[in-house]
Symmetry: C2
């Protein structure tokens, strides 16, 4: 596979993209004019200077936010010019007013940028069930349209503006060669709690959707590759299936999960089709960007101290492997044991046993390795404790990042999940503070 080179700039790394992030007080902290310095930005604008092909994946939660409904509709047109995003308010469970507000956001951005509203995409994250403070949003969009730029700082501003409980902005950009041309892909994302996305192209549940998926995560990707909307969608679907749809922080799927990719063609490569020999190179690059961003979400999850890659192999079917990996990745008892650095295989095999996967006790292997390593220290082999010492097993799970290997020895299917531990800080953060309702999440 062609070499992917990391570069700065995230969503403005590719040619022809502009961005910015502003503070417009969406949480209504009630600051007066001139006192906005130091406030976290809360509205971002991402713009392609030329019309771009667009593809999107959206939450499969039946309760889905107004901006998700707008995007799922508009993505059918295949063309995007810009994305307007706010944090602080999810515009979810806001009824007709919410739809009106989401559409007004596209209209305002369209006016400011002199492009059709139907080519403006919109995303929101924050509290559920509170209507948007539209006077603030209007001012924010107006300001943002004046402040667009393609310097690294502009991308930084946008990455900050989409954060909610994230402790740090999440950005990636790479470049690679495609038929003699340099192509770039960059992205930003956010998400820290209410994280176990299960996205589809339409927001409708796929027939074989894993049961009970669930954070708001938002991701925006820009590329100067030349590719039509349809193959771009195919590439995004593949990339999301192996990245965002394989992460979990707390097992709760949000009403707002959204991934959008814009491809404006300014790299000048021969337009990619699924038949192009170069398609695989693009796929690989897009998958890389999605996976790097997805992992950043888990690593920065609320209160997270461990990043665990749960690798299930030897399952009868993918559905079994997926069910087994999700049961382990979402078990409160397994997750608290990770927090404690406790190599407790009893809780792991217990979760496997109650999962929907077929599991046979005396076939199960459980072991640990450094991330990506094949040097596995087994705690259990064929259902029996190994001679590995408790001290060595503790050392394996003391690491901030490790892989958990589970072989069911019943078939050839596998699945993995990128998972986080469950900590007191997560509970402390999410119990909120009813004396200050602005701290209460959606």
């Amino acid at each position: 596979m062609k070499k992917l080179t990391s570069i700065p700039g995230s969503i403005v790394a590719a040619q022809g993209f502009l961005a910015c992030g502003v503070f417009c007080d969406i949480k209504r902290l009630g600051t007066g004019k001139g006192s906005n310095k130091g406030k976290k930005r809360d509205l971002a604008l991402i713009v392609s200077e030329v019309p771009a092909s667009v593809a999107g994946m959206f939450t499969t939660n039946q309760i889905c936010a107004a901006p998700v409904k707008v995007c799922a509709q508009q993505v059918k047109g295949g063309v995007a010019h810009a994305i307007v995003v706010n944090s602080g308010n999810a515009n979810a469970c806001t009824g007709r007013q919410g739809m009106k507000d989401a559409l007004e956001m596209t209209a305002l951005a369209g006016e400011a940028l002199h492009v059709p509203a139907t080519q403006i995409f919109v995303a929101s994250t924050g509290r559920i069930g509170v209507t948007m403070p539209m006077e603030n949003v209007r001012a924010g969009i107006r300001d943002a349209a004046q402040l667009l730029g393609n310097a690294t700082e502009h991308a930084d501003e946008a990455a900050e503006a989409i954060m909610t409980s994230d402790t740090k902005p999440k950005q990636v950009a790479i470049e690679f060669q495609l038929g003699g041309k340099t192509v770039r892909i960059g992205g930003i994302c956010k998400g820290a709690g209410m994280i176990q996305p299960g996205m589809s192209a339409t927001g409708a549940r796929p027939p074989a959707a894993p049961a009970g998926l669930h954070a708001t995560m938002l991701c925006f990707i820009t590329t100067d590759a030349a590719i039509a909307a349809k193959p771009l969608h195919a590439a995004l679907q593949e990339a999301v299936a192996n990245s965002f749809n394989r992460i979990t922080v707390d097992g709760d799927m949000s009403t707002n999960d959204t991934v959008l990719v814009l491809a404006n063609g300014l790299a000048g490569n021969a337009t990619l089709t699924p038949e192009s020999p170069d398609f695989a190179i693009f796929q690989n690059a897009l998958s890389h960007v999605c996976l790097e961003l997805a992992k950043k979400i888990v690593r920065d999850g609320e209160g997270v101290t461990r990043f665990v890659t749960v690798r299930v192999t030897g399952a009868k079917s993918f559905a079994d492997a997926d069910a087994a990996a999700r049961a382990v990745a979402n078990s409160s008892l397994v997750k608290t044991s990770w927090f404690g650095g406790d190599p407790n295989w009893g809780r792991i095999i217990d979760a496997l046993g109650y999962s929907a996967a077929t599991v046979v006790e005396d076939k199960v292997d459980i072991g640990y390795s450094a991330p990506g390593s094949r040097k596995i220290l087994y705690s259990l082999k064929r259902g029996q404790p190994t001679k590995a010492t408790f001290k060595d097993l503790c050392a394996a799970v003391a690491a901030r990042e490790f892989d958990l290997h589970i072989n069911l020895h019943l078939g050839t299917a596998g699945a993995l999940m990128y998972a986080a531990d469950l900590t007191e800080e997560y509970v402390e953060f999410n119990k909120g503070d009813v004396s200050d309702p602005t701290t209460l999440g959606g």
Copy 2:
């Protein structure tokens, strides 16, 4: 329905039952002879002076402990004389040695009591994956057989001996009239973490088992009613379906969940059959005992500060109602909001939306009441926030116990779950202490 009167004595309240609980150091704390005073008892014996009809329900976890396998087999015989139970070690994931040990426990108790081993039932709870310290267990059974009695203290000892992370023993006994005779039912149970039982009669999964069920809970019930094993099983199945199978602390289903009921006929009532007019009276009484015990498990769950009855109505089907209730009852974000006393309906409707139940946003009602009350304070009506004040809603969820009412307005089916909040104390407790492996749970 006939009046049920609370009485003392739990498992020795009914005629012809004896019990006791001893300390035999199953966790191998390494105390010497004579130093056992003050140690928590860890082995219980429950005995009927005459052969009793028996019925049982067992975990549907595919990884199931040796004692569960023994009971599931023996219950087919329909006759029980005694139950031997230990805490401190679950005898789960212990392979052939585990089966040998479980059978030896029945043999030892049988010898001591002069009854066939096949009429001795066995249950264990504690660490997973460690073989039983059989020399201690042998001594414990020997001692216990000498200390049996039918005083309230004997029941208290047994209730203490089955506890693990429980902070208090859990006991109930009632008496009622059946055809002119006084019949008594008493029970003890344990369970605090790894609690979301899904039990069936054989340990096999029923075709319509709720997905992903999961604590070790153990429950032992004694009655002097005269009833054959088959109708006793029917009554137990009904009682468990509406009690233990409707509770969740952390959503993890154990390898050891067991409910056993022994009916020895000494009350002298006309033997109950499903056709008896009195069967409904017995059913009502058994259901009451199971429900009282099940609620005690949730109230004493690890770190629990809230007991919430999630009442879903208006679902398209029972499966939908069950899926909706379980999604809400097991959502980390909903459970942390309860801990915080935050009446956050956004997290509740989010969980409904990702559940397997059909949910339509603008039909959903969400409200709160005092336990069992029909005076509901709604936060959401038909998907729209009501005019209830934040202060009043906070007051509703500040209570240690409250009912959460969810009406989907899509059908006539309903389901409820008895659920607990998720607290820092739960995390603190379950992260364990790797410097002291004896604290690490199974």
